[in-house]
Symmetry: C2
Subunit: 581 residues, 2 copies
C-alpha cells in the first residue's frame, strides 16, 4: 500500500487527557480518536492492528475447534432477567428501552444469549462438546473510563463459551482453550503470563488470567522463576512458616510510642525490624433483615505482620466473612477497643471479639502490637502467655517477593501485568439458571457444564504498547504491527531512480507476502522517520539517491539504534527474514 492511498495523521503532542503512555502514543500515532468519554473511533492505522489481532485469534480459535457465530449488540432484557443479571448488575450494564418501551441491554458479554442458543440447539449428548465464539462490540458503562482504550466503555472482545456433558469434559474444553490462548499470545509476540486467578462467587479452581507484562499494569502477578507457578496476587498462597513458633524470649512490656501510629514508625522508634510488629485491622459484618436493614453487626480483629498487606479476596473467603464485610467504623472500634485507631491490638479488649491471625503472625514470638491505649504499644508479646491463641489462623495476606513458592519449588517473584485474557470454568451457573439441558445417553436431561473465555481485542493494543515503547514511540511486535515494514524514499517525487527503486522494492515485498507501506507523501526525511518511529513499524528501509548509486539502502529495525547499509538486491530477503525471525 502507498501512504497516499491510506490515512496517516500524527501529533507532536499528546492531548492533555491522555494519562498513560499507551493512550498518549495511540493518540499521537493517529490510531484512535476520542468521540466521547471512553468511546473512540478506530482510525485506519489502529484498525489495521485490530484486524491483525482478530485474525490471529480467529485462526487459533478455529484450530481449537471453536465455531464462530455473531450474537447481537442489542439484546432483549428477558434473558438477562432469567439469570437475574438484569437487576443484579450495576449501572455498568447499559439499559435501553425501544419504541415500544420494552427493555434491552447493550451487551457487555453474551452468557445469556449463548446459553439460550445452546438450550435450543444442543439437545443431545452427541452434539457435545461444543464451543461457540464471536468477536463483537461490547459496552460497559464504566463510572470513570480511563487509560484510553484500556478501560473504555465501548470495546471489542472475543468471547467464547464451551458446553460439555460433564465437569470432566468441561475441564478438557478448558485446557483446550488454555492451550489456544497460549498459542494466540505467543503469536502476538507479547511477553505474558498465564496466572491462576480468583474464581469469585462461582468457586472451583479453574480460572486463569492472561496477563501482558508491563510495569504500568494494574495487576500484581506472582510467579516462581524456578517452576511453573504463577498466580494473580489476589489468589497466590502465602505458605505457613516452616519453622515452629519459638518460645518467648522477652517479657511483655508496655512501651510509650507517642504519636507513632504506624508499624513502620513504631519499629523505627524502638529500633526493631518491621517484621517484628503486628498490624491490627478491624472489620465488621452486618446481619440484615428482610427489608435490608441492619439487625446486628459483628466486629472482627485481623492481624497481619507489619510489613504485610491484607488480601481482601482471601479475607472474603473466610467463614463468617464470605457474605460480605466492611471496615469497622471509628465508633465500633472505640466501643470494642476503648481506644482510637493507631494503637490497637489483641490484648486487653474492652469487648470480646473474633481474632483472626495471619499464618505468619500465628508463628511469631516477642512481637510488638498496639496496647489499646493512645501513644502506647506492647513489646515482647507472646501467644498463649500474654493472650489466648487466635480464634482462627488463616492465610489473609498478600505474598511478598522472596516468599516461598506454594509448589515448594523456589521463592516467589512479583511483576505487574495487564489482564487481556481470561479463561473461566463456569460450571452450571448459567445452564441451571436458564435450564439449559441436553439428553444424555439414557435419554435423561442433564445440565450442561460451561466455560467462558474472553480476550479484550482492543485492550491488546494498549497492553502491547505499555509493554513495548520508547521515547520515540510505539514498538509493535511484527505480527500485529499496522505495517510490518515501511519504505521511506527520499525524493520520491524528484528522483526517478529513487521512485523506480522504491516502487520495485514495494512490489517485491508485497509479492513476498510482506505487509509493507511505501511512504510517498513527500515529507521531509526527519518528519517521515519520526512518524514511523512513533507509529512503531518494525522494519524501515530508506532509499536515497546517494545510497542507490552504491547499490545500497538503509535498513533499520525499530529496536535498533542505527541503520545498516545493505545491498538493494538483498534487502527484501533481509526484511522478510527479520520479520519471520
Amino acid at each position: 500500500m502507498k501512504a497516499s492511498q491510506f490515512f496517516i495523521s500524527t501529533l507532536k503532542e499528546a492531548p492533555a487527557d491522555a494519562e498513560v503512555v499507551s493512550h498518549q502514543l495511540m493518540m499521537r500515532a493517529g490510531m484512535i480518536k476520542r468521540l466521547g468519554a471512553g468511546i473512540y473511533n478506530y482510525m485506519p492505522m489502529g484498525l489495521r492492528v485490530i484486524r491483525k489481532v482478530e485474525a490471529i485469534i480467529r485462526e487459533e480459535m478455529n484450530r481449537a475447534g471453536a465455531v464462530e457465530l455473531l450474537m447481537p449488540v442489542v439484546q432483549p432484557a428477558e434473558l438477562w432477567q432469567e439469570t437475574g443479571r438484569f437487576d443484579k448488575m450495576g449501572p455498568e450494564l447499559l439499559r435501553v428501552k425501544d419504541r415500544h418501551e420494552r427493555d434491552f441491554i447493550i451487551q457487555p458479554t453474551s452468557e445469556e444469549v449463548v446459553t439460550d442458543i445452546a438450550r435450543q440447539e444442543l439437545r443431545s449428548y452427541r452434539q457435545l462438546p461444543k464451543n461457540f465464539y464471536h468477536i463483537q462490540t461490547k459496552f460497559r458503562d464504566e463510572r470513570r473510563p480511563r487509560f484510553g482504550i484500556m478501560r473504555g466503555r465501548e470495546f471489542t472482545m472475543k468471547d467464547a463459551y464451551s458446553f460439555d456433558r460433564d465437569a470432566a469434559g468441561a475441564a478438557v474444553s478448558y485446557q483446550g482453550m488454555f492451550d489456544a490462548y497460549k498459542r494466540i499470545f505467543d503469536r502476538f509476540g507479547l511477553q505474558y503470563r498465564a496466572v491462576a486467578a480468583d474464581t469469585g462467587a462461582i468457586g472451583g479452581d479453574l480460572s486463569h488470567e492472561f496477563q501482558v507484562i508491563a510495569d504500568t499494569g494494574e495487576d500484581a502477578i506472582v510467579y516462581c522463576p524456578t517452576s511453573d507457578y504463577a498466580a494473580n496476587i489476589e489468589l497466590a498462597e502465602a505458605v505457613a512458616p516452616a519453622a515452629p513458633r519459638a518460645a518467648p524470649g522477652q517479657a511483655l512490656a508496655k512501651t510509650p510510642t507517642p504519636g507513632k501510629s504506624t508499624c513502620a514508625d513504631v519499629a523505627t522508634l524502638l529500633g526493631l525490624p518491621l517484621q517484628q510488629t503486628v498490624k491490627s485491622l478491624v472489620l465488621a459484618t452486618d446481619e440484615l433483615d428482610e427489608r435490608g436493614d441492619i439487625v446486628k453487626s459483628t466486629v472482627w480483629l485481623l492481624l497481619v505482620r507489619g510489613d504485610h498487606d491484607m488480601n481482601e479476596i482471601k479475607v472474603g473467603k473466610l467463614p463468617g466473612l464470605k457474605a460480605g464485610w466492611r471496615f469497622a467504623t471509628v465508633a465500633e472500634i472505640e466501643d470494642h477497643f476503648g481506644c482510637k485507631p493507631g494503637y490497637l491490638g489483641p490484648i486487653g479488649l474492652k469487648k470480646p471479639l473474633q481474632v483472626i491471625a495471619d499464618r505468619t503472625v500465628a508463628g511469631m514470638h516477642d512481637f510488638v502490637c498496639g496496647a489499646n491505649e493512645a501513644d502506647f504499644h506492647f513489646t515482647g508479646v507472646n501467644w498463649g502467655r500474654d493472650l489466648p491463641e487466635p480464634t482462627l489462623v488463616a492465610d489473609i495476606r498478600n505474598v511478598l517477593a522472596g516468599d516461598p513458592s506454594p509448589d515448594g519449588q523456589g521463592v516467589l517473584a512479583i511483576q505487574r501485568g495487564i489482564e487481556v485474557g481470561h479463561v473461566f470454568y463456569l460450571g452450571t451457573k448459567y445452564s441451571q439458571a436458564m435450564n439449559a439441558t441436553y439428553l444424555d445417553a439414557n435419554g435423561k436431561p442433564q445440565l450442561m457444564e460451561m466455560g467462558c473465555y474472553g480476550i479484550g481485542v482492543t485492550r491488546i493494543l494498549g497492553a502491547a504498547i505499555e509493554q513495548s515503547h520508547d521515547a520515540r514511540g510505539i514498538i509493535w511486535p511484527a505480527s500485529i504491527a499496522p505495517f510490518a515494514a515501511v519504505l521511506c524514499p527520499i525524493g520520491y517525487d524528484r528522483s526517478p531512480e529513487v521512485k523506480a527503486a522504491a516502487d520495485a522494492l514495494h512490489a517485491e515485498l508485497l509479492a513476498a507476502g510482506v505487509d509493507v507501506l511505501l511512504d510517498d507523501r513527500g515529507e521531509r526525511p526527519g518528519a517521515m522517520f519520526a512518524d514511523w518511529e512513533l507509529i512503531g513499524v518494525p522494519q524501515r528501509v530508506v532509499l536515497s539517491d546517494r545510497g542507490l548509486k552504491a547499490g545500497t539502502v538503509e535498513l533499520q529495525g525499530r529496536r535498533e539504534d542505527a541503520a545498516s547499509m545493505v545491498p538493494l538486491a538483498e534487502v527484501a530477503a533481509l526484511v522478510k527474514g527479520r520479520l519471520s525471525a
Copy 2:
C-alpha cells in the same frame, strides 16, 4: 473443514412467523436464529456468508481508494444535535442515556461522526479527496420489523463517506463509488440493476440505488431493455404524449353510474376502455403557525388517467406541495365538491381549487370523470370546451410497462427489486451543519462536498435468496456461498475406502483454494443431500463404495437436476473449474 468441527442445524419446517421465502430458508438452513423482534443471531452457517460478502466489499472499497476505519456503535447525542437529526428523526433512532443521564444514540448511520472526524483531520485541500468507510453494526428501531434480516432492527452495513474540494470533485468520487459498487455486485454473482433514485430533500441528480432483481422485491424498477435507462419508479419520468390533443368528438353528457365509484367499474359499465377515464385525487396542504397549529388549509385536485397510479414522490416536488401534503378529509372534499368521494371530477366545483393534471390527462379528449353528484359521471369531457385548462400540467404518475423511455431509445419495462446499495451525493448538507471546512489553495476556508455510499451487508443475504432459490432450498452464487463445495461420503465411518478417498479429495480441494466442507456427520444419504440442497452449496460430490470401485464419484451442481459420474482423479479440477466459471 469437516462438519464435525462446524455447526449445522437444519429444520424441516420454517417457523410460523417467517413470512418471506428468504426468511424461511435462512431459518431452516440454520443461518440465523431469532433473538427478539428484528434481532437475530448469525449462526455459523450464516456468518460465513456475511464474512464473504464483507471481504468482497472490503477488497473493492480499498481498490477504489477508500480507507477503512471503525466508528462506534454508541454515539454521543451532541453531534446528532448539531445536525438536528437527534430531534428530527423519529423513534427509529434508538436513544439511550448513560449512567450520568447523558444522551447517546445507537447508530443507524454515521454521517455526523465521520463529518466530525473530517472537520478535525482534513484541514487542507491537499488532503482531499478522501473517502472513509466502515463495516459496522447498525440499529434502526423499525416500527414493524419483518422479512427476517431484510428489514431487521440490528443489521450490518458498510457505509462510506467521501469528502471533496468541490462539486466537480464530488462527482468524480461518486462515479468511483458507482463503479466500485458495480464490481462488488458483479462479484456477488447477483442479477442487479443500478437505477437512478430520488434524492429526497437534498436535491441534485446524483443518487443511484443498487437493486437486486427479485419478484418479491418491494421496489419497482423501471428500465429500457434497448438502452441504459434505469430508474426507481419513484423517479422514472412519464414522458408527455407525443401526439397533440385531439379535437372534441363527443358532446358532454351526464350519465348515471349507480354504485360505480371506481374508474374500472365505470369503464366496464359504459363499455369504454379504462384509458378513457380520469381519476380525481384530492390532496390538502396546511399552513402552520409558530406553535405548529394549522392556520389555513388548501385543497388540491389532481387528475390521473384511470389506469394510472399517482406517484407520491413526484407530487411532493410540485410547487405548493413541496413542504408536505396529505390526502384531504371527507369533510374537506364535500365542502369543495359538494359530493362524497367516488364521483368527483373537475367540472362544477362548489369552491374553486387548484387543478393539477397529469401530462397524459392534459392530452386526453372525450374522457370520462365524476360529475360531483353521487351515482353520476360525465362522458365526452373536453378541456377548454367543458372546463378550463388545468392550473398546472405535470408528470405526477407512475410509468407503466410499454411507456416510451425518457431517453427516447425504446419502451420501458418494469421489474421488482430489493434495494441493497445506495450511492448518494450529499453536497454540503452535513458539512454546512457541522462547519466542516478545509483551507483551499488560497488559505480560505471552504465547505467540503460530501457523498455517502451504503451497502446492507446482512440484507444481501436475504436478497440473494429471494432472487435465487427453488423448492429444495437456497441456491447461492459461488462467491458468497457458505461453502463453495461439499463432499458427501456415504459410509464415511464404515468404509475405509470411502473415508480415504473423501479425506484425500478434501485435502486436494483445500490445497487448490476451494472452500470445501467434508460432511463427516454420518447422516443417511437422503438427509445429508437434503441438508446441502437446503443450505444451497453450489457443488456437491458424493463418494460411495460402488462408485469408487469404478474410480468415479458423483458431481452435481446445485442448479442441476441430476449428478454426473466423473472420474475421482478429475473431480477436483472439475469442481474448481465450475466454481471459477
